[in-house]
Symmetry: C2
Subunit: 243 residues, 2 copies
């Protein structure tokens, strides 16, 4: 069971092209997977698809790849976004990794009234989403946006994108009903921080035309569990798990 | 936002009863949540429901609770089991915690041909499932079974319980179709190890009347992600998220 090595490459890929790997990728190939000259590697560029390639040199600080041919068309993940209030470090790492595996197109950190962690580490999130994309065989990578306040997000919202918010107050229909009632192609899932939404935020959320509250059963889910569960449910009913 | 303190108590609860807490619970109350004499605590016993109680003493190694009254009836979580091949320590911890939050009734470690971790730490799993039950406000705790080989599990299987196995070979219908086609009240979800099922195991799984393969979309999910995603989907369609 030799593992396929997959790498996301920041520049456009095409057959015959030579790619110079950055220091992190070179370190990964040399020291983590212990690749050699001639090792086959699959590359994708978030635009032109996936390509076979071969390692043609692997010096200490720089490796070079030769692209061979296209092996898979580029596919964009379903048009689902995750809006979440950053959690403690490990939980945020976890949300980024899992949301990527679960085929989320965009991940948007949001600041709400009860958000505890204001330490948004965008570069770390991007690195993790790329690693997870390589691992789960996406040909695209999720867009990771700069943190915004919930109010600003709502103000600039595109009305044709349904925003499902997970409602701990249990005043909303269950998520299956919510998903069946509103069938928009574009959607987003909003998960509050551990303390939930403030009353003011709940009111604002209910007052928008594009929002839909939903519940995820009788147990209290941690924020990261709710994020994953909601993404899975959306994929099952409205995303690419139903093809 | 004072947090409710919830404790699982191993003995039967009833109003007026005095409960002697064990050393771990006493340590948790003294040093983690910094409870005092008179602190209100909610208790459940996995049988008689949830009770309000008050801490009547909190010595260094022993605390005592006085049960006040029943505040919630006992509810069993839906009849869904998770069968999973143990993973690395952190990932297994994660699966136990999340499966508990997602309302899994029984968690069964299984040994398959490609299972790498044979180090089954049942006591740790039990402790974690109790902690997660306290946190997510279950009134029951999941049953954690001794590890068994996949073959033994299949040999003793109750035919009326559908066993959904997540099929990386993509030869199975999607999970939504599988869930809609087979509507049994009792079900189980089987997740293989990172290396998947062996060909022999795949054949055996396909040959049983009570099994149903299912896919979870085009991306490759890590085992722990697949476990959570599948439990969420089952709850959405067949469990208590649809009430």
């Amino acid at each position: 069971m030799a593992q396929t090595i997959r790498l996301y490459i920041k520049e456009d890929l095409a057959p015959e092209k030579t790619i110079i790997l950055d220091e992190n990728q070179t370190h990964y190939l040399r020291d983590v997977v212990r690749a050699d000259k001639n090792t086959k590697i699959q590359c994708f560029d978030n635009k032109n698809g996936e390509f076979s390639s071969e390692l043609i040199s692997l010096e200490k600080k720089q490796g070079k790849l030769k692209i061979i041919q296209k092996i898979k068309e580029h596919t964009q993940s379903p048009d689902i976004w995750l809006l979440f209030a950053p959690l403690k470090k490990d939980q945020t790492d976890f949300v980024i990794e899992k949301a990527t595996e679960l085929g989320c197109r965009k991940i948007q950190p949001i600041i709400t009234q009860y958000t505890i962690t204001k330490n948004i580490r965008l570069e770390r999130y991007i690195a993790q989403s790329i690693e997870a994309s390589e691992q789960c065989r996406r040909t695209d990578i999720p867009e990771i946006s700069e943190a915004q306040s919930l109010k600003d997000i709502l103000r600039g919202w595109d009305n044709t994108r349904t925003l499902y918010f997970m409602d701990e107050s249990l005043n909303s229909p269950n998520f299956l009903t919510a998903l069946k009632n509103i069938q928009t192609k574009k959607a987003a899932i909003l998960i509050g921080p551990e303390g939930g939404f403030s009353e003011e935020e709940q009111k604002i959320l209910r007052d928008q035309k594009f929002t839909q509250g939903a519940t995820l059963g009788p147990r209290i889910l941690r924020a990261e569990t709710a994020a994953l569960a909601a993404l899975s449910c959306w994929q099952l009913i409205s995303g690419d798990w139903s093809h």
